[in-house]
Assembly symmetry: C3
Homo-oligomer: 355 residues x 3
Amino acid sequence: MACGNLLDLNDCSVEEWIGLINLANDIYVNPRDYIHRCDGRVLATLFYEPSTRTQMSFQAAMLRLGGQIIGFDNPVNSSVSKGETLMDTMQIVSNYADIMVIRHPQEGAARAASLYSTSPVINAGDGGHLHPTQTLTDLVTLSMTKGTLSGLHIGVCGDLKYGRTVHSLLKAMSRFPGNRFTFISTPELALPAYCKNLLNAAGCPFEEVPSIEDCIGDLELLYMTRIQAERFSSKEAYEKQRGVFILTEEKMKAARSNLAVLHPLPRVDEIEAAVDRDPRALYFTQAKLGMYGRMALILRMLEDDIVIHSERDYRLTENSCPNPHCITHLERKLPHNVCKGQDGEDICLYCETKY
Amino acid sequence: MACGNLLDLNDCSVEEWIGLINLANDIYVNPRDYIHRCDGRVLATLFYEPSTRTQMSFQAAMLRLGGQIIGFDNPVNSSVSKGETLMDTMQIVSNYADIMVIRHPQEGAARAASLYSTSPVINAGDGGHLHPTQTLTDLVTLSMTKGTLSGLHIGVCGDLKYGRTVHSLLKAMSRFPGNRFTFISTPELALPAYCKNLLNAAGCPFEEVPSIEDCIGDLELLYMTRIQAERFSSKEAYEKQRGVFILTEEKMKAARSNLAVLHPLPRVDEIEAAVDRDPRALYFTQAKLGMYGRMALILRMLEDDIVIHSERDYRLTENSCPNPHCITHLERKLPHNVCKGQDGEDICLYCETKY
Amino acid sequence: MACGNLLDLNDCSVEEWIGLINLANDIYVNPRDYIHRCDGRVLATLFYEPSTRTQMSFQAAMLRLGGQIIGFDNPVNSSVSKGETLMDTMQIVSNYADIMVIRHPQEGAARAASLYSTSPVINAGDGGHLHPTQTLTDLVTLSMTKGTLSGLHIGVCGDLKYGRTVHSLLKAMSRFPGNRFTFISTPELALPAYCKNLLNAAGCPFEEVPSIEDCIGDLELLYMTRIQAERFSSKEAYEKQRGVFILTEEKMKAARSNLAVLHPLPRVDEIEAAVDRDPRALYFTQAKLGMYGRMALILRMLEDDIVIHSERDYRLTENSCPNPHCITHLERKLPHNVCKGQDGEDICLYCETKY
C-alpha cells in the first residue's frame, strides 16, 4: 500500500489537503472528465453502525467515478453475527475490493482494520475518535464557498466538549494563518483543555461567549452542532438553555452578509427550518461538496499519487487500553499495541488514549 | 426541475402516457440500444418501508439503462433513526442522486419529499394514497399484450374499497374510450362512491356482481387483488366468503381465450397456483413489463423531454390535516399546506384529503 | 435455459470443473480482459439468510466482469414478510435479473427456486444440504496453489458429521486419482457411513486419527473446520477436547513445507491467529480465489457454453418429505416431488432425503 490509509486527516500535509481540495473543485467543475477514472475498481463500505448519509455519499462518489460498490450497513446481517473478528473480515473483504471505507462505533476501529487489510482503508468515523472525511468536507466547502481557509473569524456553537467534528475542525483550521475562534456553549460543554492548548500552541486567538447573539455580527463562519439533551445536568437545565444554542431567522438578521453557516448534519432542532432559505445557510451545499471531497480522496488513493504517512511505530504491551470505548475491548484478539504520543508518553495505537 | 416529478399519473396527459408506453415497448424490443443512455447518472431508492419487488424493479430498470443505484430499504438503518426529517434527508440525498424514488408508509410523503428535493422525484407508493408506477405497469402490460387500451370489458375483483391500485386503474382506463367495468366484491368492500361518480362522469358503464363466475365469460381483462382477512366483518364471514374471490383453474374454463389476468402482486391465496400455467395468466409478464415502464419513465425524466405538471398552487393553513395517515402527522415540521380540490374545496397538498 | 443451473457441483463433469478452474486462473492472471464481459447483465443475490462474505464474493465477481447487481440480504425486508412464496418471488425477480444466486436456510430451496426461475440459478448454500461454490473455491485454490488435484494426502479436521463443505470436498476429491484422506475428529463427530462408502467405492484409502499431531507431518492439505460447542455431549466434554482440534503455531512446526492449510471461513477459534503469518496458511488466499471461481462460473453460465445437467425426472407424491428441514415444510405450496436416488429409492427432489 504505497498510498497508505486515510485514518486521521493530520497524517496528510497541508499541501496534500490543498491538492485534494483543488481536485475536488476540478471534479465539481468538470464532472464528465472523471466518469471513467475508476472503471473496473470496487469500493467496499463496511458500516458496523448505520450512517446512511455518509455511506450514500461514499457510494455516489465511487459510482460517479465509474467504480462500483459492495458492502453492508447492518452488523446483524454480517458474518460478525457468526463471531467473525474484524481482523478476519478485513483480510477477506480486502480481497474483493480495491479500497475500503469503514465506520464503527468503537474508537480506534479504523486503525485496527487497516492493519489487516490488503487494500487502503478510509476511516468514515470510529466512535467518538475521528471522522476525517467530515473535516475534509468542511475544508472543501470553506475553500469553494469563501475562496480561502485563512484569516477567518470562526464561531463554533453547541457541544464543544464531546463533538469530534469540532475538535478536528479546530485542529485543521489552526494550521492555516490568521484564523481566530469564538466558542459558544454552556460551561459544562465547553472546549476541553487539550484543544485550547493546541490553539495556543498554534498562536490562534480564541474567546468563549454564552450565546450566538454575542458574536454573530462579526463571524465569517458559524459552525453549528447539535447538543444532545442528555448532555445537560438536568431536564430543567436543558429546557432552560436550549433556545440559546438554536440558530433562528431572527438571529441571522444581525449576521454579516458574507457569513457561512455550516453544520455536519443530521440537524435536529439547532437550526430553525426557516434559516434554510437564507443564502448564507450552506449546510446542504456542504453535504453536496462532501461528495466531491470524497471523490478526490478515492481517486488519489486509488491512483497512488498521494502518500499518506499513516504508519506508526508501535510495540506490544501487556496492559489493556484504559479507554472503555476502545476497539480492543470489543475485539478481544487484537494485540494491545502502544505507540508514542506527542509528549513521548505511551498511547494506545488504535484510539490514542494515554495508557 | 423542468421535467417535474412523477407523483400522480394524472399529472401527465394521455399523450404522455402513450409516449411512455411506446418507449417502454421500444426498449423491450431493442434493449441493447438503451444500455448506455443513463451512463454516469445515479438513482436513489429511499424506501421508508420495505417493498423488495418495487425496489428491485426500479434498480434493474436503472442498471439496464447504464445508470447506477444508491439507497436504503430499511428506515431503522437510516439517519431517520437519529431524528433527521424527511425534508432534510431529501435536501441532502438529492445532491448525491440525479433522480429519486421514494416509498413511504404515510400518505402524501412523496409530494412532501418533492418540495425539498433538488432532483426529480418518483412516487413509488405513499401509504394508501397513490402508486403511479403500478398503474403505468398495468397500462404498459395491457397495451403490449392486448394491443389496445380502449373498448375493453374489464373485471376487477377483490378489495375494491381500500385498493389504491384499483382506484388508479379505473381513473386511468376511464380516460380511454369504450371501456366498461364489472366489479366483483362483497358489499362491505364495494367500490367507493367517488369512484362510481368518476366513472359516471367519464361515461363508462359499470355493474357490480357477487362472484367471478357471474362475469368471467365476457371479460377481456380480469384484474385480481387481494382481500385481507381483517377487512371482513368476522372470521366466519371471511372463511365463508373467501373462496368466492379466488381465481381457480376451474373458473378459468369459462373464460374467453383472449382474457388477460393481471394482479399487482404479491399474491397470497387469491389466485390458485395451477392458474399460473394458463397462457392467459399474465401477472408475471406484468411484473416484467413494469420494469420496462419504469425504464421509459426514468429515461424521459432524466432526458428532460417530458414535462409533468406536478406543481400545484397552495397556501399555508393553521389547521392540521384531518387524515391521521397523512405525512404531516409524522413529520411535524412540514408546513400545513392546502390547495384547491376539484370542486374548489380545500384539500391537503400532500395527501389530498378534504379539510 | 440451455445452460441449466448450478445446484450441485456433481451435476458437472470433471472436465467442466477443469474448464472452470482454468478459466478462473486466466481471469486471475488477466483481469483486464474480462472487465466488460458481462456489460449490461444483472445478477440478483437473494439471501434468505445473511452471509455477508458469500454475498460480497458474488457481488464483487459480477461487478469485476462489468455486470451489475441487485438483491436483498434480509428476509424481513423482503416481500416474503407479506406472505409471498419463494415460487412467486423467483418468477418475478428472474424477470429483472439474468442470473440468480440464492441462499436459504432450508434444504432443497435452491432446486425449488430453479423450477420457478426463468433465469439460471446458482445455489449459494441451502441449509445443511449443499454449497457447491464453496467446493469450487476449494478446487480452484488447490489447483492454483498446489498445481494439482491428484495424488494428495488430505487431512480434514473438525466436525466431520454435520459439515456439508467437508462432505462435498470428499465427494469432489475422490473423483481425482491418487488422493488419500486422514480424518481428525471426536467419535461423536466422525464421518458418516455414507461418506465412507463413497470413498471405498472410489477406491480412496482413508484413516481416522484422534488429533492433528497424529498426521500433520505427512499431509499436503489440512482442511480445518469449526466444531460448534453445542455439538459436544456436554460443556465439560467440549472444554476438555476443544484444544485437540485447534491448529497452533506449535503444531505447524511438525508440518511439511508444502502443506496448504484451508478453511471455509468464518473461523472462530479453531486456528490460532498466529498461524495467519505462516506462508502455508492459505485460507485468506482461498477466500480471494473463491471470487475468481465465481467469476468463471457466472461467465460460463451467462455465455451459455457450459451445459450443466441439473434437470431430473420427478413425479408428484402424496406424502410429505420426512426431512423437517426440507424447504417443502416452509413453502407449503411446493408440490411434493420425488425422484430416484442412486439405488433406485424414492428421494425428495429438493433436499434428496430418502422417503
